[in-house]
């Protein structure tokens, strides 16, 4: 189980004479943009009948996965959800292999077997994307049992709706009691499917982990630097033996929950207000302002990502489907075990 040490996807960031923070900021922006364009691609290929079943897009929430992915070390791992394309890309999963998977191609990251909701890529530290609510939480909790042996930290991504699930409560208590190095990254996008969080959730979400003695924080999930900072500190506290950490990352999904969602549940004006806090916009503003990146520098990234995605689509559509006649093994064969 090799683990990659890089978050770099194909296209390099422009190597002008930018400062370290600016350079790094531009790279964060680029990663978010790759996710955004990736998701738009999935959406349009879904409409064209090339992506199937259902998909849950991460549009509007990109800062979360990119911010967290940026602070993880080689020995760390993360578990994402059915809304996991962003989680995967944030960890450095190859966008081409991910897109191929969406299209059910043999070159997909799971050979086309998994599809949108169940992507697994251990080489890029992705334990998996979990179609079952709470699956990411328990997987990361367990991974932490293993990773702590090599100074690693596990991250679980999940939505606010998931904090009502038994998995959430049991695993956070379990991790707290065992002081496991795990970051519980709750992406609060205000809705679970079509239901507003406040309709089905008693009390304040952040208070739940806090009563378990877990360090908690609520952050602006649309500011990639804010996410980075909070996640970085949390991961290092976890690594230092301070036990599980909880972040509530406030964000918003700009598109439907899944393919067919008219969004009737949204409150008036809500979508527009959140769009003004689009993580890409927030990043561009900071880059071209505070960080002194010329607008053309950002435009260059835009163009590079555009080109990258165009090439990816072409390659994905040309990739072969898996061959159904090939034999498949139900069980893993026995590996050698040292005595």
């Amino acid at each position: 189980m090799a683990r990659a040490t890089t978050n770099a996807a194909a296209a390099p960031a422009p190597a002008q004479e930018l400062s370290g923070p600016a350079q790094h900021g531009l790279e964060l922006y680029r990663r978010m943009l790759v996710i955004r364009r990736f998701e738009e691609t999935v959406q349009s290929l879904f409409q064209k009948g090339e992506v199937h079943g259902t998909t849950h897009l991460y549009i509007g929430e990109e800062a979360g996965a990119v911010g967290v992915g940026d602070v993880l070390k080689a020995q760390d791992r993360a578990a994402g959800t059915y809304r996991g394309h962003g989680h995967a890309l944030g960890l450095g999963v190859d966008p081409q292999a991910l897109l191929d998977e969406m299209l059910g191609r043999a070159s997909g990251v799971c050979g086309g077997r998994a599809g949108s909701m169940n992507v697994i890529d251990l080489a890029h530290r992705l334990i998996g994307c979990f179609g079952i609510i709470g699956g990411s939480i328990s997987a990361a909790t367990g991974a932490a049992l293993a990773l702590r042996r090599e100074d690693g930290v596990a991250v679980a991504f999940f939505g606010e709706g998931t904090t009502n699930h038994g998995y959430f409560h049991e695993c956070l208590n379990f991790a707290a009691v065992r002081k496991l190095p795990v970051l519980y990254m709750c992406e609060n996008n205000l809705y679970g499917e079509f239901t507003p969080w406040e309709d089905v959730t008693a009390g304040e979400i952040e208070a739940r982990p806090r009563t378990l003695g877990i360090h908690t924080e609520t952050i602006d999930g649309n500011d990639v630097w804010a996410v980075r900072e909070a996640a970085g500190a949390a991961v290092e506290r976890a690594r230092a033996g301070e036990g599980p950490q909880f972040i509530q990352s406030m964000t918003y999904r700009f598109v439907g929950h899944s393919r067919s969602d008219p969004g009737a549940y949204r409150k008036p004006g809500e979508l527009d207000r959140w769009k003004q806090r689009d993580p890409l916009l927030v990043a561009r503003t900071k880059l071209t302002g505070e960080l002194g990146v010329p607008p053309s520098g950002v435009d260059e990234v835009d163009a590079a990502v555009e080109a990258q995605i165009d090439a990816m689509i072409e390659a994905a559509l040309a990739a072969p489907y898996p061959d159904p006649s090939l034999p498949v093994r139900e069980f893993a064969p026995q590996a050698e075990h040292a005595p």
Binding site: R113, G131, T195
Partner: protein, 326 residues
């Protein structure tokens, strides 16, 4: 004449039972205000109000456990566990509480409770949103499992399930939601659970199936008829308990049984049916076999999933191979 869509049939059954009996309540994730992720339950919230029809937290343990507690305290809850794949999270309340209560209480009370769940593959939903949960529950005494194949049956059987005094799992195959059939003139009454139906007569081979498999088997039967092979097709409608008399009567005529199940070979209802028929009618059987999926998770990729499922073509090829070889 108007058509009845499968999803609409479900909705109407719920609507009518909610109207008919105050004790009926309906809850689940995103079922009330949003009307369900498969758009099966729109309007019920508006028609019957928030005390009778409501959205729950994402809490399958609580939903099922609460439905059980309500059912033994005077209500007749219908709950939705969105995908059948999530039923393991609801299983304790069904297996350890609801299914045992009538017996353990020495018949003090029954548990009139219905769990609706969308099941089945073919929709490219992947391994964890496409399973058939039947095998997980078929060995649970006290539970009924209903699995309709047509809109009219869906309505009649759901009404029957709601009026049944026992816990019922009611499975809705995702690839049936959009099918339609003409609305009959007479109102659709509640059906009694547990009765299979011969949906096509034929003398060469009995094919026993359910849900989507009924449509595939009927289509295969048409093709095979051209070859002079006449299938008798039985729609089980209820998978627990199995209507053995109807199956045995047919097998005694055709002397051949094919159990067609969308689900893994090992441990499914098809195996149970083959075992029952073999036990009861060994001397009258010339051939008996199953057509199911392989013992593997359900793949996402379209060509993989298509090849995985025992659809019409697979049935035709399988029956031809078997009956010509025989």
């Amino acid at each position: 004449m108007a058509d009845l869509e499968f999803r609409r049939a479900i909705r109407d059954a719920l609507d009518e039972e909610l109207a008919r009996d105050e004790r009926v309540v309906f809850f689940g994730e995103d079922v009330a205000k949003p009307g369900g992720v498969f758009a099966v339950t729109p309007g019920l919230f508006d028609a019957h109000g928030e005390e009778r029809v409501f959205d729950t937290p994402i809490s399958e343990l609580a939903i099922t456990g609460a439905a059980f507690g309500a059912a033994v305290s005077g209500l007749r809850p219908v709950i939705e566990i969105m995908f059948g794949d999530f039923l393991p999270l609801a299983m304790d309340g069904l297996v350890n509480q609801a299914a045992k209560y009538w017996y353990l209480s020495n018949e003090q009370a029954s548990v009139p409770l219905v769990v609706r769940s969308a099941v089945g593959a073919g929709g490219r939903f992947g391994a964890i949103h496409s399973q058939s949960p039947v095998p997980w529950f078929q060995a649970v005494p006290g539970l009924r499992i209903v699995a309709p194949s047509t809109p009219v049956d869906a309505k009649a059987l759901l009404k029957g399930a709601i009026r049944d005094d026992n816990p019922v799992l009611f499975f809705e195959h995702k690839r049936l939601y959009s099918i339609k059939e003409p609305l009959p003139d007479d109102p659709i009454e509640a059906a009694t659970l547990g009765e299979a139906r011969v949906v096509r007569e034929g003398g060469d081979l009995t094919v026993v199936t359910a849900m989507r498999g009924v449509h595939d088997a009927l289509a295969a039967a048409e093709q095979l008829s051209a070859d002079g092979i006449e299938l008798e097709v039985i729609d089980l409608r209820t998978l627990r308990p199995l209507d053995l008399p109807t199956v045995l009567a047919s097998v005694r005529k055709t002397n051949r049984l094919l159990a067609l199940e969308e689900g893994p070979l090992t441990g499914g209802w098809a195996g149970e049916l083959v075992a029952r028929v073999s036990e009861e009618a060994l001397g009258e059987l010339d051939d008996v076999w199953r057509l199911t999926t392989k013992d593997l998770p359900i793949p996402y990729s379209p060509p993989l999933e298509d090849a995985f499922l025992p659809g019409t073509d697979a049935i035709v090829a399988n029956v031809r191979g078997r009956l010509v070889a025989a």
